[in-house]
């Protein structure tokens, strides 16, 4: 996904954008801290245990959850497994080539994984059938359908919405030692939300478009749990960031996370 940009055009566009930003305006008319319209549909893939299609502006992702049984890791015999995998579908952008996930797709997988894992959204300890031998494995597969910036938050919203609506056939041990299969909801504890912002000069822009990302200085993805605590973070971009700007982003993102969590809650309640 390396892009050869003409340095002249790139600079011109950046100058124009910075001029707009000095007036706190963006090319698409949003305020600096506005998200683009967010659309969440759950239950779109009936063959999965849980699924969601999410669009954030023109960026579109679909996530599907599959729950299968497997062997736990030797060092966590009493925990189920969580596997997050993101693929940038080759039709999502003219710049994506088919093939195994590149470093950018791997970064998305790992950032989403950490956000879900560290917020302790899923109670992995409840996903054990036989300690050390057989546990449930929660596969979260995210396909990016169309790219227009801020892949992280679209992928994260899709993953979280899919998990919140996941059900599966759980083996329940009966008194006589046999098993009963019961349809259960995946046990979740909170709704983690990730918020991605970029900096261009002094300005902080929430939910950047691809065009904005192309002239970004720094990018920052922060994940918050229900209490508004930070549970994961990842800096991107090839320019340093000052402490002051960083703290400002934390403040803005914390507020945005509240907004998005309400939105997700409403969708889930109406599902």
């Amino acid at each position: 996904m390396s892009i050869k940009k003409s340095p002249i055009i790139e600079n011109l566009r950046k100058m124009q954008m910075i001029e707009l930003l000095s007036k706190e305006r963006r090319l698409d008319g949003r305020s600096l801290t506005d998200f683009r319209p967010i659309n969440i549909k759950v239950g779109v893939i009936q063959k999965s245990n849980g699924s969601a299609e999410v669009s954030v502006g023109n960026t579109k992702a679909v996530a599907g959850v599959k729950i299968e049984t497997g062997t736990p890791f030797p060092d966590t015999p009493d925990q189920g497994l969580l596997v997050v995998n993101a693929e940038f579908l080759p039709f999502s952008s003219a710049l994506i080539e088919p093939g195994p996930p590149d470093e950018d797709a791997i970064e998305v997988s790992r950032v989403v994984d950490r956000g879900i894992r560290e917020s302790q959204m899923i109670d992995l300890k409840s996903l054990v059938i036989e300690p050390g031998k057989l546990v449930y494995c929660v596969f979260v597969d995210i396909s990016i359908l169309n790219m227009d910036g801020n892949i992280f938050d679209a992928a994260f919203l899709a993953a979280v919405s899919a998990l919140l609506t996941t059900t599966f056939d759980k083996k329940i041990a009966k008194e006589d030692g046999s098993f009963e299969v019961q349809k259960c909801r995946l046990p979740t504890r909170c709704i983690p939300i990730s918020i991605t912002s970029i900096t261009i000069g002094d300005a902080i822009l929430v939910d950047p478009t691809e065009e904005e990302e192309s002239v970004q200085d720094s990018r920052l993805t922060l994940t918050f749990n229900d209490q508004g605590f930070l549970c994961a973070g990842q800096k991107g971009g090839s320019t340093g960031i000052s402490k002051e700007q960083l703290f400002k982003i934390v403040e803005i993102s914390k507020a945005k996370a509240e907004e998005l969590r309400s939105l997700v809650k409403k969708v889930i309640e109406n599902a």
């Binding site: 779109v44 893939i45 009936q46 063959k47 999965s48 699924s51 023109n58 579109k60 679909v62 996530a63 599907g64 959850v65 599959k66 299968e68 995998n85 693929e87 579908l89 080759p90 039709f91 999502s92 952008s93 003219a94 088919p98 195994p100 996930p101 596969f139 597969d141 396909s143 359908l145 169309n146 790219m147 227009d148």
Partner: protein, 236 residues
Amino acid sequence: MIDENGIRLDGRRWDELRPIRIEVGVIKNADGSAYIEFGKNKIIAAVYGPREAHPKHIALPDRAIVRCRYHMAPFSTEERKPPQPTRREIEISLVLRRAMESAIFLEEYPRSIIDVYVEVLQSDGGSRCASITAVSAALADSGISMRDLIVGCAVGKIDGQIVLDLSDYEDKEGEGDMPVAYMPNLDKIVLLQFDGIFTEEEFKKAIDLAILGNKRVYEILKKALIEKYFGTVEEK
């Protein structure tokens, strides 16, 4: 799988199609795209191109090259499918590409490449037939010149009878499956595979039925394209 009244498990008669829904222009970044629901199949096809071939040495001086990737999402199947392409996916990519090559005016785009990507979000019986229909819609959406549209629909044999458009269960438990893709105006078959046991008579009957079914799919495809490009004032 067929009861005494000639009704199949999902309520269809022997010559009925499952419900089909086609939406054109679903992927903003692509040059052309379409989404199809065909039974429980949910498939997106999208086209990039004609664009400059890269690396250059793969280009042909007198015509376009077509590349095709048919891929199933890990969550599209009963059991999770690992993301890397299987031999089945590679073979389907190949037969889809050939079907397209028979429809596209390749010689109008020398030295260029046309990339076609198919993603199966949910799979059901007949996914390659649903895919080629979606691809054809995406190619039309992209404005690439074609001799004819292509539509696809399978036939098969269950309980000793030739029937139209097998569901997943009928495919698995039945005696034979035959995906067919077809150019309706040129009256040509552009994709044909089958397995199972067919007598010569059954084979001929199956082909006739497939063509019948494909003509119906064609009407649905035409309607979707017209809706997209000319709107449907009266019906809305």
